[in-house]
Subunit: 317 residues, 2 copies
Amino acid sequence: MRSRICKLLRIQYPIIQGGMIWCSGWELASAVSNAGGLGVIGSGSMYPDILRNQIRKCKAATDKPFAVNVPLLYPDLDAHIAIIIEEKVPIVITSAGNPATYTPKFKEYGLTVMHVIANVKFAKKAESAGVDAVIAEGFEAGGHNGREETTTLCLIPLIKSQVEIPVIAAGGISGGAAMAAVLCLGAEGVQMGSRFAATYESSAHEGFKQEIVKASDGATSLTLKEITPIRLLKNSFYNKVQDAYARGASKEDLSLLLGRGRAKKGLFEGDLEEGELEIGQVSAQINRIISAKEVVEQTMNDCLAVLQKTQLAFKFE
Amino acid sequence: MRSRICKLLRIQYPIIQGGMIWCSGWELASAVSNAGGLGVIGSGSMYPDILRNQIRKCKAATDKPFAVNVPLLYPDLDAHIAIIIEEKVPIVITSAGNPATYTPKFKEYGLTVMHVIANVKFAKKAESAGVDAVIAEGFEAGGHNGREETTTLCLIPLIKSQVEIPVIAAGGISGGAAMAAVLCLGAEGVQMGSRFAATYESSAHEGFKQEIVKASDGATSLTLKEITPIRLLKNSFYNKVQDAYARGASKEDLSLLLGRGRAKKGLFEGDLEEGELEIGQVSAQINRIISAKEVVEQTMNDCLAVLQKTQLAFKFE
């Protein structure tokens, strides 16, 4: 496919797997890369030695490019960055921080850098910092999210109009129809998280994968905005957060209630009631666990078919 | 264009103008209908005698079909419904209520009925009630909004998969690229509100139209969820609502703060600080006041061009 993203990342299809804590280890990343997309190791849930191990396993499992996702708020950030450079990972995706801080270092070592943004201000900042592409993520996305609450449909054309570098759309995309939609908006590629979380190769707990399959519309909510806005499946933990709000809880109360390790508890250990079940609105459209390869292939096939079919409706009678 | 919506509504292009309080009187509705779309009189801000007058003026200004939008929570509802039937308005769009209550009556008099929904449950309910099409409106839309906060990108495929009747997409659409996007998602037509609010023919106050043009990303917020969720431009009134939340205001406090007539104050009288400025996220993409005819024509031209261009990217190299 003709896409600056394919050329930039040296991949066959402009499909990027979201780097998700507790879901995207080397098994998923290598499977996506082997299928022609870009696999991404989500380093946010890993200690440095685990990250190094995951990168090595990924390199052994694929000879195609893959990436590591690095939330710039991570406590072991310097160790992670050193490992990514030492292990010669070709592509890094940064998020949740200032793109100007680390982009020059990555570029010095020849890495391709993409940065996740949710508003025009940070898209321009990322471009100025020298990143190669931005991943524009809308309100419907799972996990951490922007404060402006701009949806993917509204965000992509805005970002596209303000930067020259390629824009990758994220949030609300689980297949070919949505890919066709965001390409029409000017995106040059897609990032999918929730869809890849519910694949065989995802390292998420089986119970969580089944929750994704069962989710219907209205099953998720963007909450904890006083700390960091995060989209979650509504469960017992979520209800406790709502009760806390009803009692007029302070930011400190909420942090205490959240505690530590809830994402691991939910996504990895399968505690569906007390865990933090990060997932996107698009979970309502995901009805089957399939392989990463099927995701990539079905998405590309459906995307082309949808574009052809939609254009056909324009034969004026 | 081949679209069930064009056939159903006897219009040339599947573009429906959102029925907006204080913005969409007969001038806008007739201009949209004359341009080949479906013009809509927003009855929510009108007393019965004003509505009758508006309908008559609209009939005098166009011989094409037009519609009246009826929020089913309106105090003068029965009077409005009687007038719509008496004046032989061909199409009615209902919202904010149970589609089963009035659809049979409208159908008895031969009207085409469309109902605005924001979730699967009400889409199915509307179909069972016999409506001819649903208008599925996403989180990014201006004014009153659903509680599930499902975005247009996520909502359209879901609704499409659950009903047989045509689905019209609303929320986040201001031109041809977004129209192409939602057609890819399975919508058979679009409803645009914010874009038509900022036209010459809109009856909104000139000051409000300029606010739409000036709006950037993050300029709106969905608030007052305890009363009825509503998307507004952030202004002094919005800040007062935020202050009330910070003080732990009750639903009653919020209702008192909201008071009566704030939408009129903002949208029609141009009080940009104390009025309720209902508008969608897509306002960030609206940079010029143009005519309703230009909206319709540019949207159709751009939609086709975007679909053709996007498909061209699929020539595999």
